[in-house]
């Protein structure tokens, strides 16, 4: 379990992480979603005690990270694939990590097998592709057989087979009762792996909800209608008890999958339809809307931007 309480990180004037409070629970995959620059990596670095919070607190199983004895046995993390010395072999990279936490040597071979790097174990890491580096990072996370796993953008640079593999790995780790916390900027990726969703934008918490709830709330299905006889159709539908929403661009929207009924009603009343199409709002759209609002909120909360001035404007006014 990872608990964040009012976690805040400020770099000068910029709030990278702003008062985050949420809990990552065991037994499920928790997706940590936000656009690039939302503060995901900073949050994860603070969880690992690498960056010091400006305010607030983060606890791993109730303890601060630096209070953990042999932390790799509690929490394994993949931060970025390049966090290793390129001149060191994969085996020695894992060996030095294992030794620092009193993990037996044979475990190194086990995790190399798990991630499929045994054939290149003695090769230097700098010759690895991004995907192989990612696998080595994951091997390092699994080394201490930890109860908590944290992955920052794990599918980056993986081929389709690798992506499939990491999805299954995360699900099976969660099924074993472990806490799995994984960040991504792709909603579609999260929809396939995560059971719970934490969304941040501009460092602020935007949503902390189960995946099922998020889908139910945001994947609205509706019917879009265009007709030259708007008013007549509105009358007909209202009399039939169908709720209609008028959108700005002249189309009508009806919630739910009622296209057959609407088509029949229009035919009965001899109303011409130009379009009658069932629509499904994608999760990606819902996510973009959610985070776009945070950007807008931010822009409005500050002073309006100065009018852009061309070079030399000031000089002309003064003269």
């Amino acid at each position: 379990m990872i608990e964040l309480e009012g976690l805040t990180k400020r770099y000068g004037e910029k709030m990278a992480v702003n008062n985050l409070t949420f809990t990552v629970r065991p037994g499920i995959v928790t997706g940590f979603l936000g656009p690039n620059g939302a503060g995901k990596s900073t949050t994860m670095r603070m969880m690992l005690g690498l960056d010091r919070p400006t305010a607030g607190d983060v606890r791993i199983d109730g303890k601060h990270y630096d209070q953990l004895k042999d932390p790799l046995k509690y929490i394994g993390a993949l931060l970025d694939a390049k966090a290793m010395h390129g001149g060191r072999s994969a085996y020695n990279h894992l060996l030095c990590l294992a030794q620092s936490n009193g993990i037996p040597k044979k475990r190194v071979q086990e995790v190399l097998d798990t991630v499929g790097l045994t054939p290149v174990a003695r090769k230097k890491a700098k010759g690895f592709s991004l995907g192989m580096g990612q696998r080595l990072g994951i091997a390092g996370a699994l080394l201490g057989d930890p109860r908590i796993l944290m992955f920052d953008e794990p599918v980056n640079g993986l081929d389709p087979e690798g992506i499939h593999w990491i999805r299954n790995l995360m699900k099976s780790l969660a099924a074993q009762g472990r806490t799995v916390f994984v960040s991504s900027h792709l909603m579609s990726e999260m929809a396939l792996t995560a059971d719970h969703l934490v969304v941040i934008g501009q460092g602020r918490l935007l949503a902390d909800t189960s995946m099922a709830d998020f889908i139910a709330q945001n994947s609205r299905s509706y019917v879009r209608i265009r007709t030259p006889h708007r008013e007549r159709l509105l009358d007909v539908l209202q009399r039939a008890g169908v709720t209609v929403v008028q959108t700005g661009n002249g189309t009508l929207e009806v919630d739910g999958g009622k296209s057959e009924r609407i088509g029949e009603l229009a035919a009965q009343h001899r109303i011409v339809l130009h379009e009658l199409s069932p629509q499904q709002a994608s999760l990606e759209e819902a996510f973009m809307q959610l985070t776009a609002e945070s950007v807008e909120y931010h822009a409005h909360s500050e002073a309006p931007p100065e009018q852009p001035r061309a070079w030399g404007d000031g000089w002309r006014k003064e003269s």
């Binding site: 690992l48 005690g49 630096d66 932390p71 931060l79």
Partner: protein, 256 residues
Amino acid sequence: MATGQVIRSEWTKIRSVASTVWTLSLAVVVTIALGMLISLLSKNEFDNMDRADQLSFDPTFISFAGMSLGQLAMIVFGVLVVSNEYSTGMIRTSLAAVPQRGSFLFSKITVATGLALLVGLVTSFVTFFLGQAMLGEHGAYIGDEGVLRAVIGGGLYMTLIAMFSMGVAAMLRSPMLSLGILMPFFFLVSNILGNVPATKKIGRYLPDQAGSKIMQVVTPVDNDTPYGPWGGLGIMMLWVIAALAGGFVVLKRRDA
């Protein structure tokens, strides 16, 4: 966290990168080869020297002449051991595994210092014996007064130079910046400050000027240095302690 675990881990790290081997071998080869060359040249020059120079002729110190270049390789070793962590991004993985930053830095420096001491002592003894062989009849014997102290001191000097570089690298984090400051400083600036009369009094308190006194057996005729061989080494140790303390404070305070 058991310190023994971290020390073993740091030993694996240091032995598994190529830079350890090439920096240390370069230090050994350059120090020995240049020491032999200068010893040979000095032997041939001896009869042409004036009386004062012959009196202050220090065969032990001359055989260590190669250290002025060899120490640069030791500096590279010390800098790379620490700053490799930052330039590769390994530091984040390392500190996630060992969040006690003091323990992490202490173990790294202990391992690197142990290795530097071993290499430094071997280099120092080999340099001495081969240098004396070159000097022939003008050479010194290991049993002569002060010679053993100077030879062991040569090993300690190389070790302390490496430690000082580790401290500086821990403060500056970047290998290029650290080397860009340390190399010209020890190769040029320190020598200039130590030889120009106006700055000589300050120059002799610099780490390398003070520390290299330990390798002198014969006191120069016009000597006015206010400290002896061990005093000089002590001054160098103070520099090392200051650099390491600075490095520790930076590591402790800053985000990784």
